[in-house]
Amino acid sequence: MGSYAVLYREMLLFKYKLMRLGYVFYSVSTPILYLLAFGLGFGSRVQIPDYGAFLIQGIVCMSSMTNSFNMVSVSVGMGRLHSGEFQTVLTSPVSAPSVMGGLVLSGIIRGLFASSMILLAGFFVFHVIPFTALGLFALVLNTAFFSAAGVIIGVVIDDMENHAVLTNFIIMPMAFFSGTFYPVDFLPHWLQKVVWLLPLSHANKLIRVGELNSTTITSFILLSGLTLICFIAGTLMLDRYTE
């Protein structure tokens, strides 16, 4: 019931956001713009077979990351630092794992909602839905990881300006260098090693390969492990939260 309470609140707020066109525009317009600009502009000139499908997979993955992370971290951060609504949750009898569960679930739903919008747009432009069952699972895993990371950031920041700094210096570079628009192999060798450390690159790999084999099993274990670590860390931070 505790997780449901947190999820219900987040979903109600999400519903009201969706009813304002500005939100829908904000969350999906930029990815769709990328899809059209890169897909239609570079599409036939890039040395990547079926670049349309490649691009859809990358942009869906990126959107799931930004939406899950931003929505959860802003909700927690603003609720803590400005409205004080989050303190109402923290002083309720709901356990920390339940609060964490509710928040992560809300992030997953928000991330998947944005992803489905991009998929729909991609289908209209390129007539493909390039996702296998494992690809979809990897997408869920990706949203879970970034939602959990969003909770951690929302709890840690002491100012919403810090949130903007984190988004600009960590989330945005991750979106551009983790294989969203082109394969990681195109990058210099030293940068590939850095990118290997970024969770989004593993999510992209899993989504694109679409099956568990010797090249994707490491990515699967890493992404699952990181999600679990973030979930536990976020839960502990909520449990030990103090002002």
């Binding site: 019931m1 449901y4 609140r9 109600l12 707020l13 409205s83 109402t88 949750v89 002083t91 939260y241």
Partner: protein, 273 residues
């Protein structure tokens, strides 16, 4: 005792927010914490409601350490915060429904509607919180506390910024909660509020409790008779002493009046609040 606070201290860096504070609250009691901004009232509430950990000292609720038994504590308390922490996009009903879910109250719809009716807000049931007046928002916050079924309610300056008529309405709601068997810790700037509502009052100054008793005992102890001289107020134990002082100082136009809790507060902390 329902709540026992023993020698609690809290610092933020080099700033001592709460220093060696001790008091207790009995069942069904309204206890007031009075003091100016920065006196340590909100920090005290944060520690009591498990949002902040004391550096030293103990806080027991029903004999159990509130930090050690945080979930149990949270089941027994409700907080009416100073901030309007309601969710401006949500309706009154939704705010209360979410709160009921957080408190684990099942089949809460009727209970919520009854609470809304009790506070005279039935016509605002589906109104967005953002469209409500300050007084109505405060009422929704009180409604949450009423709904919670908590034994002990912390109210952090619940009437701040409200007009006099709405403040008095709020006082009656607080009285009603007491009549329902709840204990209440109320922090306030307003001495008339503390005098009207509180069985006992503690005056806080720079993180410390400087005096604590019933409002009348605090007045009697400080001097039940007062003489205003410009912006100063002198307190006297009896009327004769006050008259004698006026005569001795040849003060013209000054009259002896009954001391108010406000005068005690000013004399306790050494300056006007």
């Amino acid at each position: 005792m329902l709540l026992e606070v023993m020698n609690v201290r809290k610092t933020y860096g080099k700033v001592v927010a709460v220093d060696d504070v001790s008091f207790n609250i009995g069942k069904g009691e309204i206890f007031g914490l009075l003091g100016e901004n920065g006196a340590g009232k909100t920090t005290t509430i944060k520690m009591l409601s498990t949002l902040a950990r004391p550096d030293s000292g103990r806080i027991l609720l029903n004999g159990k350490d509130v930090q050690k038994y945080r979930r149990d504590t949270r089941r027994r308390i409700a907080v009416v915060s100073q901030d309007m922490n309601l969710g401006y996009e949500l309706s009154v009903f939704e705010v209360l429904y979410i709160y009921a879910l957080l408190r684990g109250i099942r089949n809460s719809r009727k209970l919520i509607d009854d609470t809304i009716a009790k506070l005279g807000m039935t016509e605002k049931r589906n109104a967005k919180v953002g469209t409500l007046s300050g007084g109505q928002k405060r009422r929704v916050m009180v409604a949450r506390a009423m709904l919670s079924g908590a034994e002990l309610i912390f109210m952090d300056e619940p009437t701040i910024g409200l007009d006099p008529a709405v403040r008095r309405e709020m006082w009656e709601m607080i009285r009603q909660m007491q009549a329902d068997g709840r204990s209440i810790l109320l922090t306030t700037h307003y001495t008339d509020e503390a005098e009207y509502l509180c069985g006992r009052v503690a005056i806080m100054e720079r993180g410390r409790i400087v005096s604590m008793d019933t409002p009348q005992s605090l007045i009697d102890c400080a001097g039940a008779f007062a003489v205003d001289i410009n912006s100063r107020t002198l307190l006297f134990r009896d009327c004769a002493s006050a008259d004698e002082y006026i005569a001795k100082e040849s003060l013209t136009g000054q009259k002896v009046r009954q001391t108010k809790l406000d005068d005690v507060l000013v004399s306790s902390i050494g300056r006007a609040v």
